[in-house]
Amino acid sequence: MKIVVCIKQVPDTNEVKLDPITNTLIRDGVPSIINHDDKSGIEAALILKERFGGTVSVVCMGPPQADVALREALAMGCDEAYLVSAREFGGSDTWATASIISAALTNIGYDLVITGRQAIDGDTAQVGPQIAETLGIPQVSYAEEIYDIEDGNKVIVKRQFEDRYHIIEVKMPCLLTALAELATPRYMHAGGIIDAYKKDVKLLGYDDLKDQLVPEYIGLKGSPTNVFKSFTKQAKGTGTILKDLSPDEAVEAIIAKLDERHII
């Protein structure tokens, strides 16, 4: 079983501070980390490998600095790492990113693809499902637990919903998007770090993937998303707290407020 985990290197939002004057994020000097959900995906893959055998490969699309994210994945126990990086890939939106990563996955080969649910810097939750669509394989998003792999080719997954969950049997090759709850990531091993830097991170550039790529679906030009405007969300004023009311009085007070604002 060949498991491939797709990861993204993101700024550590815990370390991000706001510029007090412009109210925008200060990104300078902010450390980069592996996106949390993706790291759960790595852990889930490593657990599957320990239970059922196979290999775990990790793929990251990004600039050369993303190398350290891949080394971390290797130090956690992944077998091989691929950095998907090329000038032509710059400026890709989720569609183009999914198109490029799909090409990389076709190049590498896979039975089970795991991505994180969404990245903390963009929060789109689109790339995983888009990869599955591009590759034409079944997908289970919001995976909360992987119960089993049956007959060597069927994954039994619990998918979280807002008000319920589904238990789904899905035939490999397939793609799962991992929630942070899927697995608590292990620490890198101190010795694993030494090994990680002895291994090669394989670079997949434009030329390596050109046979699998659709040229009009990559980079800025291949990205249908247009950023119309970006702005800093203004903090809302503090709410009003109505205290010491009986349930009936509370209902009345709320209705009065809604009525006052012409909401109802």
């Binding site: 350290v68 080394r71 971390e72 130090a75 620490y187 890198m188 091993h189 101190a190 010795g191 694993g192 770090i193 030494i194 090994d195 990680a196 830097y197």
Partner: protein, 380 residues
Amino acid sequence: MDFKLNKTHLLQQEMFRRFAENEVKPLAEEMDETEIYNMELLAKMHKVGLMGIPYSKEYGGVGGDYLGYSLAMEEISKHDGSSGITISVHTSLACSCVDGFGTEEQKQMWLRPMVDGSKTGCYGLTEPNAGSDAAGQQTKAVLDGDHYIINGTKIFTTNSGFADTFVMFAMTDKSAGTKGISCFVMDKSTPGLTVGPNIKRMGIRAAQNCEVSYENVRVPVSQRIGKEGAGFKIAMKALDGGRIGIAAQSVGIAQGALNEAIKYVKERKQFGKRISSFQNTQFKIAELQTQIDAARLLTWRAAVSKDDHENFAQNAAMAKLFASEMVNDVCRAAVQLMGGYGYCREYPVERALRDAKITEIYEGTSEVMKMVIAGSMKIF
């Protein structure tokens, strides 16, 4: 000359930092209060390789070096001096005796489980009447056929409260002085070996530092490390390496305390201003950080000289002498910067100040460090 850590060391440092913040920091206060080391934490430290950093993968170790080990000691000690000494005694004292002087068979039997994450080691040299004068060992080992019979008492044996593997020293030939001491390794279950309660101390209270008595303890000759009479050399060699760990521990405790004080002065307001805006505060912090960095560089130099197989004893002694005195100054100043709150147990600088003192005492006092340095300089 390159003062930058390489990529491997940087990622190790990051991993040690995350581990320390997530696993050590939340437990440190409670462990200090209860004077009990958390065994789950010990198991976790073994699991991520923190207990076998400078040892070969051939024996199940991490395959790292003393620089990496120093980084670990600093990051862990930033939050807990007790965890620092637990790692240090195991790594640079217990393991190093077997690694440096054991036979291949002994390494497989005793070193492997200590560095692959399954067993914890301790090191017994100090006795009630043999401290800085370690040559004055009263514990005796008498050869009886193919066994030694060991009798005596060791004190302040760090880790002995939970250790599986005991490395210890005993006099095999009193008339030969320092050349009459031998080194032994044994399992905690060896009959006649008894560990007393954790000795009540001012600092590093969670470390398990007990009296260990050896009463007619029979160990086979195959458990003697090195030649008969080589024990003192083995003990001193181990302490040379251990001092790098204590220097790094001192740097960690100091940086941890200063970080807390910096956080505090940026929030605390007096006289209508943040106290970080006072020049006295700024100058004090500038001085303290400079002292910490100087100690860190001495520590790294000592570690690299050991990794490069140079004669590192003087570098290690200088690093420990400077770093251990520095950490006491820094912690005292950190408490002062935080005023009454710094003195409260609620804030970790109070514990840091108590933990700091021992660094000037164990693994050779500051006075012994000066003897080592002056000796290396051939000042007689």
